[in-house]
């Protein structure tokens, strides 16, 4: 601790008094106490001295010629600005009004004549302590301002970095409507959407516990996993499992992410949802009826991998139906009277839904009205997804950048899944990944994925599990179908599905042959009605789709062996790709 903090430091003190003898007494007193004294005989001189020397303490006679003490006090206080310069009036004034006006002019205290050495010393020490405390507080305040400014600046930088990783994906698609606050990430809210290779869409909405940086940090890996895996064709369940495992590992105890996943498959008129800790989601059907999608799981990052349940609820949904999910912030929106919007607010908004009003507008308008016209709560996120025709969404594969490296041309691979694994693991992302090594196939990832996915689903659900696709035609049957699928999957034994992929180059492009064989009983493909009507083994849609996409489709053996030949041509590729391939083998 230096002298200035103990109050023993020599101070520079300004005194102003028109009486020479009084000034001499005070000056001598202060010098004897070890201070450096500047003296003035009137107010004007005092203000000038103060302006140039910035003394730390001022003694002013209240009544002086030229400028009196009151006016000098006001000027000195103005010059001192934010600095605390204790100002003590020297006075032999006796009436209370005059003393009060000294303090009103900015005086901090007064000293009456005759001067007393002990009192003067005590006052100087007391005011110096006050002055130092004020100085410390001012420094702390400036420090806090500076920290706050830096923090805000850092948040904006972090937000830019975050936006690069957790970009909005396909949130701008026509079928999606959403509300998020600009810096919501620092309040722990997340909202991502990504097209899947199969032509569907996956949306993840979430709300981390806590606020600020800790909440934002958790969002980064979630975004990476979500976008990375969805684009590669992993199902919503797979993505959830991976995110949960990651968060469980990286988040401190007590921190987690309430979230909901929507996996929409437009071609199948089906959505799968998973709600872990968010408020009820809603499926609002075109006819106005609706179904709540309440939380039935623990949030992400709570349970370890073995106990985590990523099972998604499968629901039929058709064009015109709308799915809605929201974070807590919607329910916690407060009215001016301090009431909460709550579940009731959402339900009321949906009850009053009529005509052409979109459920998104109905809820968001009601929240706005409820809160008095403002949506200023930072952690308020609302998203809706309209079920659409599959063609509406642009294909993701067109956006995938081509690797500069040329991939394999002539190759063959066999991949076989057996028994228990059939119910636990989807081989589709892996198989798609292998095919995507061929540059020309990358732009066809949607088609390749669909081929693989249809073959796999048919082999598993119809070939091995023997589930009749007719069940899916009614709402009751739909539920029954998926319940039965789960039951039969858990009892699988002595079964397999084998994929054989063969790629080779042809004159104008290349050929990918996919053979999918399963251990099921097969079906009588000779009597199959072809592209019309539901087949016994294959859903009508699946068969039609396969025939449309592939050059040829052949059933062998007892119907459990399907071969697809998929030809691609350079001419279909864009110029950049054409160049890349024709340069092959040349001295590029």
């Amino acid at each position: 601790m230096d002298d200035s903090q103990t109050g023993n430091r020599s101070l520079q003190i300004l005194i102003a008094d028109d009486s020479d003898s009084d000034r001499l007494i005070l000056k001598t007193l202060l010098r004897r106490l070890g201070h450096d004294v500047l003296d003035a005989a009137n107010g004007v001189e005092a203000v000038e001295l103060f302006r140039h020397a910035s003394p730390q303490l001022v003694f002013l006679d209240a009544m002086m010629p030229q400028m009196d003490g009151m006016e000098a006090a006001r000027k000195i206080k103005a010059l001192a600005g934010e600095r605390l310069v204790p100002l003590i009036f020297l006075t032999s004034l006796t009436n209370a009004d005059a003393l009060v006006s000294c303090l009103e002019a900015g005086g901090d205290d007064f000293l009456t004549k005759p001067y007393n050495r002990v009192i003067i010393e005590a006052k100087i020490n007391a005011f110096n302590r006050m002055r130092l405390m004020h100085e410390t507080i001012s420094q702390h305040r400036d420090l806090i301002h500076e920290h706050n400014r830096k923090l805000t600046e850092e948040q904006h930088t972090a937000k830019r970095v975050f936006d690069n990783i957790a970009h909005t994906g396909c949130l701008d698609a026509d079928s999606i409507r959403y509300h998020v606050s600009p810096l919501s990430i620092f309040n722990g809210d997340i909202l991502f959407a990504c097209p899947s290779p199969a032509g569907g869409i996956q949306i993840l909405i979430g709300d981390f516990t806590g606020h600020g940086l800790p909440a934002a940090v958790g969002a980064m890996p979630v975004a990476e996993i979500f976008y990375g895996m969805t684009a590669k064709g992993f199902s919503g369940s797979d993505v959830l499992r991976e995110i949960n495992q990651k968060l469980k590992r990286i988040l401190p105890a007590g921190m987690f992410c309430c979230a909901a996943m929507i996996q929409a498959d437009f071609a199948l008129n089906q959505v799968q949802v998973w709600n872990g800790g968010l408020p009820d989601g809603w499926l609002v059907r075109q006819d106005g009826s609706r179904r709540s999608l309440p939380s039935s799981h623990l949030p992400l990052g709570v349970l370890d991998a073995t106990r985590f349940d990523a099972t998604m609820t499968v629901i039929q949904a058709h064009t015109g139906d709308t799915l809605m999910f929201m974070t807590d912030g919607v329910l916690e929106t407060e009215s001016i009277q301090g009431e909460m919007f709550g579940d009731r607010g959402v339900v009321t908004a949906l009850n009053e839904l009529k005509g052409e009003v979109h459920p998104f507008d109905a809820v968001i308008d009601r929240v706005k009205a409820f809160s008095g016209g403002l949506l200023d709560q930072d952690d308020l996120t609302l998203v809706t997804l309209d079920m659409a025709e599959s063609e509406v969404l642009g294909s993701l594969s067109e956006e995938v950048p081509l690797s500069a490296l040329e991939g394999p041309e002539e190759w063959h691979c066999v991949y076989e899944l057996r028994d228990r694994t059939l119910g636990q693991f989807s081989p589709l992302p892996l198989l798609l990944h292998i095919c995507m090594e061929v540059p020309a196939l990358r732009r066809r990832s949607g088609e390749i994925y669909t081929l693989l996915s249809e073959l796999y689903t048919n082999a598993l659900e119809h070939g091995i599990l023997g589930l009749p696709s007719e069940w899916k035609r009614t709402a009751d049957g739909f539920g029954h179908y998926y319940a039965e699928r789960e039951r039969r999957l858990s009892n699988i034994s002595d079964h397999y599905i084998t994929f054989r992929l063969t790629h080779s180059m042809t004159d104008g492009g290349g050929r990918l042959v996919i053979v999918c064989e399963d251990s099921g009983r097969g079906f009588d493909y000779h009597n199959h009605a072809g592209t019309t009507g539901p087949g016994r083994g294959y859903a009508g849609r699946g068969l039609m789709l396969l025939q449309r996409l592939a050059g040829s489709l052949t059933f062998r053996e007892r119907g459990n062996h399907v071969e697809i030949v998929y030809d691609w041509h350079f001419s279909e590729a864009d110029p950049a790709e054409g160049v890349a391939v024709t340069q092959h083998g040349g001295p590029s």
């Binding site: 028109d18 009486s19 020479d20 003898s21 009084d22 001499l24 007494i25 001598t28 007193l29 004897r32 006679d61 009544m63 010629p65 020297l90 006075t91 032999s92 006796t94 004549k113 005759p114 001067y115 050495r117």
Partner: protein
């Protein structure tokens, strides 16, 4: 009417202690200042300037109290109050008393200096 002593011995002793070598300078400064103040007071009364009277009497009062001349300080206060209340005619008699008291204080101080 004024039972205060001409000089406050205790206050003077303390001043002497504080001022050390400059005690002489202080006393001379006070005496010459006071002569000026007294002249200012007389001028203000002649000119009928109440404001100037208040200021001069106030300063004279302050320095007298500080130097340890309480009776003189009290007389100055009477004049200051009369000036404040615009009773300039009432101030006249007090000025003569101030003059007398000042002569008294002055000779006492000068004696102290000689000791």
């Amino acid at each position: 009417m004024n039972d205060k002593p001409h000089l406050d011995e205790e206050a003077l002793a303390e001043l002497k202690d504080v001022m050390e070598d400059e005690f002489d300078v202080l006393i001379h400064t006070y005496i010459s200042d006071s002569a000026d103040r007294l002249a200012s007071i007389r001028r203000a009364i002649e000119a009928g300037d109440a404001d100037a009277l208040v200021k001069a009497a106030h300063s004279f009062k302050g320095s007298s109290i500080n130097i340890g001349a309480p009776r003189l300080g009290t007389l100055c206060l009477e004049v200051e109050n009369a000036g404040r209340e615009e009773r300039l005619s009432d101030a006249g008699p007090f000025v003569e008393q101030i003059d007398l008291e000042f002569q008294q204080v002055r000779s006492m101080l000068e004696r102290i200096l000689k000791e």
